[in-house]
Amino acid sequence: MDVLDKIGKVVFTFVKYLSLVFFSFCAVLPVVSCVITAFKTDEEYHTTNVMTMPKSWLYFDNFIRAFKQAGMARAFANSLIILVCVLFFSVMIGTQLAYVLNRFKFFGNTIIRALFLFATQLPGVAMQIAVYEIMYKLGFINSLMGYIIMMCGTDIISIYIYIQFFENISYSLDESAIIDGASYFTIFYKILFPLLKPAIVTSCILKGVGTYNEYYCASLYLQDKTKYATVATSLYTFVGPLGSEYNLICAGVIISLLPAFLVFVLCQKQIYSGLTVGAVKG
């Protein structure tokens, strides 16, 4: 029995690591092949197989060319503006909404929550037909501000993160503040808002990555691709004339990945926990 047990354990460990390595390989392969190709000169790209290593890992010409060609300086500036505004306003709106929904009982509280749940079920692409008409009437096509306002719209997952966090903050804090004569606004900004910090960080990271990666609405509403391109839509530059210059395209793709990659490396824990909280609650 002991021998069998041991064999079983060895086999289990083997299968365990084999599958982990295999699927990690699958997950990484497409991106790694892009990184490899991004470092190749034109000549190298045309003569060697895609999976052979580049001659030099210090050949950055493709990155510089891609950066210039796609107008990425502009795109990064736009993305930064959008990101800062969207995060600021969605944190403001989201935390206040969660405060009201969690701390006050009023007619319609459950209805609002139910509507949010309902809204998560609607596929975004289908909604954009109606939203487009609204945006068009408001004159928000080709306007950074219009796009920002649309993206600020309540983000249900972060509201759930806030609500869950509020549930763990004791009511006695509010009560003692009320006894001391604080208004609801003071309670919210002086007491509860600072306590919410971990939840705000988590939801900002999730919302930030989401906003940074958003391309469907960006390409729909920010149609002027030179003036209003975001990082994601600036990649569209490579669609037409450079159809098969993949060393250049890959360099562009890698540049656009870098910010998300950095955030991921630095804030893995928050991303994982934020995802789990949002999904379990939603």
Partner: protein
């Protein structure tokens, strides 16, 4: 892109047209590929989550590798996979390492018999890590004493999986199944960014997007959106009822199992009494 012309009330004409046009409902058939993909995706995620929730060296690194695709923006994914599937490029090269011949390989994005599978593959690639992280989170919240008790009772890893992990995270699995089936009805991104719906890869939403924003038949497209929403709601309700029914059955089994266990205990006690009585003689 502008919306031209005055509004005119046309009654149900647009809705009727949705059912009459061939391209709308043919496109819905493609969802079957995506449903298949989501089955693969969820079982893969569950398998890897289970492995990673046991002790694994470098578990965090593996987790990170598999999760990262989720954070890549859609257009970059489009380029990455156009590159990946191009004839003689990454995927073909890797398959050649495994001993396949280039001449026998299909054109992954052009061959109509295979291109939908290629697209579904990209969607699985992108999302299985995220599902895995969700499942890991759920598995971690299972009381670890349960595993210890099971180990003491001599349960192996598979039994632990079947009798502890799966029942404890039933809710989140159900939720993900429901989400992924409605998700596959509204599949949009992979065909939109990789093939733009060419060669028979246009899903319902790709067709709808085309009708709304290129052909500018906004009314028809809106009708399509509403029809699909209704379908999604019906499917969701059916699934919820289905899962309720399934779980109710499994709960029904529990009391019977309890009775059986009690009987077994009584029997063993009797046997022991008989044995000890026999020993006494």
């Amino acid at each position: 892109m502008k919306y031209i012309g005055d509004r005119k009330f046309v009654g149900l004409k647009n809705y009727i047209k949705v059912f009459q046009r061939d391209d709308c409902f043919d496109a819905l058939k493609l969802s079957l590929y995506y449903m298949l993909g989501s089955v693969v995706q969820l079982s893969l995620a569950l398998y890897l989550a289970t492995i990673l929730s046991f002790k694994v060296k470098g578990g965090n690194i593996f987790k990170g590798f598999m999760f990262f695709p989720f954070l890549i923006n859609g257009i970059a994914i489009g380029f990455i996979f156009k590159f990946f599937y191009t004839r003689g490029f990454v995927f073909d090269t890797v398959l050649q390492w495994c001993g396949f011949k280039l001449d026998n390989l299909p054109y992954w994005l052009r061959d109509q018999s295979i291109n939908n599978f290629s697209l579904v593959g990209t969607s699985v690639w992108r999302y299985f890590g995220q599902n895995m992280v969700l499942f890991i989170g759920a598995i971690m919240s299972v009381d670890s004493e349960l595993y210890e008790a099971a180990m003491l009772d001599g349960a192996n890893k598979f039994q632990q999986f079947k009798y502890i992990i799966v029942p404890s995270i039933k809710t989140i699995i159900t939720l993900n199944v429901i989400l992924s089936i409605t998700g596959s009805l509204s599949a949009f991104e992979p065909p939109y960014v990789i093939t733009s719906g060419a060669n028979g890869t246009g899903t319902y939403f790709v067709v709808m997007h085309e009708i709304a924003h290129t052909q500018q038949k906004v009314g028809l497209a809106s009708a399509m959106a509403i029809v699909l929403l209704l379908i999604i709601f019906i499917v969701t309700i059916f699934q919820k009822l289905f899962f309720k029914y399934v779980f109710k059955n499994s709960e029904d089994e529990d009391p019977r199992a309890e009775v059986r266990r009690q009987r077994a205990i009584k029997r063993s006690i009797k046997r022991q009494q008989r044995l000890s009585a026999a020993g006494g003689k």
